[in-house]
């Protein structure tokens, strides 16, 4: 039996088109101790994402048609979320020569990105933008001036000054974006900017869009909710005051400080200031930001259970996106429809694809649950939300009309009941 969205009427649940994540690190091949395509695709479903774009910074990187097809096949075999491969912009992600973009696109690559590294060479990046038109796919660039962020482990500001940690200034992202926008204009090509995180970045994109540059951008749930104060041990959401006024009973209002220097707060781009978070919400509201993408970055404990400076960058995001974003909605920072559009039609537009007509997600927005390693389908649990009670949970995810994830305790259907199987 096919999914019947009217079956959930009157429960106060959210029924939405399935979410599309433009940015997930699935770690396979090469880092299977952190995540596999299968575990990542299952984590995606539990987070409401019925389509995920797998980033190519694997080992070896996804820079050949064979590697693209392998990701597609493993994604199909996982029988969970749809897995769309992102292929490298440059061969080996080395930033020296272009990958075979037309062939990669023909094999099924939906975007190009050297994510984790920017394409530093401006001439090569211009070529990539121009050549991407022949491939008919968009370039998703990771905007970062590597010289300005050298040795950096967190956002540069008052918090990094107090902690004695090397900072990554907002300007390192903004100056890279300024270059990328100029080159997109020059190339007359579409450009997508991954994980914008600063007020200045949002403003640059806003102006470029007004100037007619064919640019889109994404923001992560953690950059919409957490701040650099988290590195110093705070566990207050950036909008905790609005949230506690709007709903004093919300579980994320209850916050006790964590340990400073927690490696799970280390992410690139780094957690920014509350003012940056506000600017990201404003960008989401006015359409400057097209999509919410998780930048799900799982890491095995060996890379995170270390001192902050030695830790890998990254936060897992697929399964915690819904509660963080719903908290923002509860705090009045955006309408629910705005957030849902940024999780569905927004990213689909970036990909130049239609939304899958029979992909759906059902969310119980009142359901409270605690983020623990055991609760997460991801193989990794490197999130600073670990141990926190949150509100809002996916109870069903449907792919191509088939229910691929269901929390039967919630939906009330029994496993022997064929109607919802």
């Amino acid at each position: 039996m096919r999914f019947d969205r009217d079956a959930f009427a009157g429960k106060g649940w959210i029924v939405s088109r399935g979410f599309v994540d433009l940015h997930a690190h699935l770690r396979e091949p090469g880092f299977e101790e952190s995540e596999t395509i299968e575990s990542g695709a299952r984590a995606a479903l539990r987070g409401g994402f019925t389509t995920i774009c797998g980033m190519p910074n694997t080992e070896p990187p996804i820079d050949s048609p064979g590697a693209v097809r392998e990701m597609i096949e493993r994604g199909i075999a996982a029988n969970a979320a749809r897995v769309l491969p992102v292929a490298c912009i440059t061969r080996g992600r080395a930033g020296h020569e272009l990958a075979d973009m037309v062939e990669l696109a023909a094999s099924g690559a939906v975007l190009f990105s050297d994510d984790g590294s920017p394409v530093e060479d401006g001439r090569l990046f211009r070529s990539a933008l121009e050549y991407s038109r022949a491939a008919g796919r968009t370039i998703s660039e990771h905007p970062q001036d590597l010289a300005l962020t050298r040795h950096g482990v967190m956002h540069e500001g008052a918090v990094s000054a107090a902690l004695g940690l090397t900072g990554m200034p907002a300007e390192a992202e903004e100056s890279a974006i300024a270059r990328d926008l100029a080159l997109a204009k020059l190339a007359g090509a579409r450009l997508h900017l991954a994980h914008v995180s600063t007020a200045g970045a949002v403003e640059l994109v806003r102006r470029a869009k007004a100037d007619g540059v064919a640019v889109t951008c994404e923001v992560t749930p953690h950059h919409l909710a957490l701040t650099d104060e988290w590195v110093a041990g705070s566990r207050d959401l950036a909008f905790i005051e609005q949230l506690s006024q709007a709903d004093p009973t919300h579980p994320l209002v209850r916050s006790t400080p964590g340990v400073p220097f927690d490696a799970n707060t280390k992410v690139n781009p780094p957690l920014r200031t509350a003012a940056d978070v506000r600017a990201c919400w404003a960008g989401l509201r006015d359409g400057t930001i097209d999509a919410i993408a998780t930048d799900h970055a799982p890491h095995a404990s060996v890379r995170k259970d270390v001192e902050l400076e030695a830790a890998a960058f990254g936060i897992t995001g697929l399964e915690t996106a819904v509660p963080l974003l719903l908290a923002g909605v509860a705090a009045g920072l955006a309408e629910l429809d705005t957030v849902l559009a940024a999780l569905t039609s927004g990213p689909a537009r970036v990909l130049g694809r239609e939304l899958e007509p029979d992909d759906w997600v059902v969310i119980d927005p009142r359901r409270e649950w605690t983020v623990t390693a055991a609760e997460l389908a991801s193989k990794s649990a490197n999130t600073p939300l670990l141990g926190r009670m949150v509100r809002g949970r996916v109870v069903m995810a449907v792919v191509g009309g088939e229910i691929r994830f269901e929390d039967t305790a919630e939906t009330g259907s029994r496993s022997d009941e064929p109607a919802l199987r």
Binding site: L163, G164, V302, V306
Partner: protein
Amino acid sequence: MTTWTRRHVLSTEDWSRAEIETVLENAHAMAEVLSRPVRRAPALHGRTVILFFAEVSTRTRVSFELAAKALSADVVNITATGSSVEKGETLLDTVRTLQALGGDVVVMRHSAAGAPYFVAERTDAAVINAGDGAHAHPSQGLLDAYTLRAKLGDLEGKRIVIVGDVLHSRVARSDIHTLAPLGAEITLSGPPTLMPAAWRCGSLPERVRYEPDVDRALDGADAVIALRLQRERAEAGLLPSLREYARVWGITEARVARMRPEAPVLHPGPMNEGIEIDAAVAHGPRSLIERQVTNGVAIRMALLYLLAGTPAS
């Protein structure tokens, strides 16, 4: 005397004035022990203090070792060169070893800011941070406060100038977080490239200001603390040359003369004489640098006693 509830000494940033005073008062009693013919008290008899130094240090390690021995503790050294730290052993491995060894106190130095928090979370021992990256060096901040109080009396309203590489200095941070709660007004001076941008641009901690002109910073000051300048800062493009640094920010006799009469000069050591401080100043009448070293033992005894000592019967 104020009650003491801390399990670890990781940074004085979140300490109350009363907690700082408690350490200083205890250090005073410890200084008395150190002045006796037999410099030994039984307060830590039967306790084990592990000195875990994953970054080279002689002064601080020896100071803690003397402090622990003066309190009759058993002392075990784990240094970077003598252990597996250099063979790629992770900090977590080391923590497990420390836990298995069963020390009562771990005194640790590490190049990574925050490493003592990592250890404190994962062991039953009390942890004393003896310097973590550019973050904190609380016993240095406390011994500087002790040394300045002995010379200047109450620090309320006293103008203390910290000169040098504040950006990379755990000493500067701990001095700020110890002296400011005691009422001192702190002026930071030094090259703009060696000052955290946020502090240069006005979002400074309470009771702290930035004055790039060291002469103006020193005019009428009550004390100056010169910071060690790492020679590699010039190579990293943060300074034109050490020679220029010495001329523009070095603590010379002429600069010392700008302060109030008898205003003292401190330095956490080891010094680069002729760069951040002139030899004539370092060994001159205003210098409290050797006093800092002596007081350091008393401060460290106080910390060990407060964390692990059994009250004298």
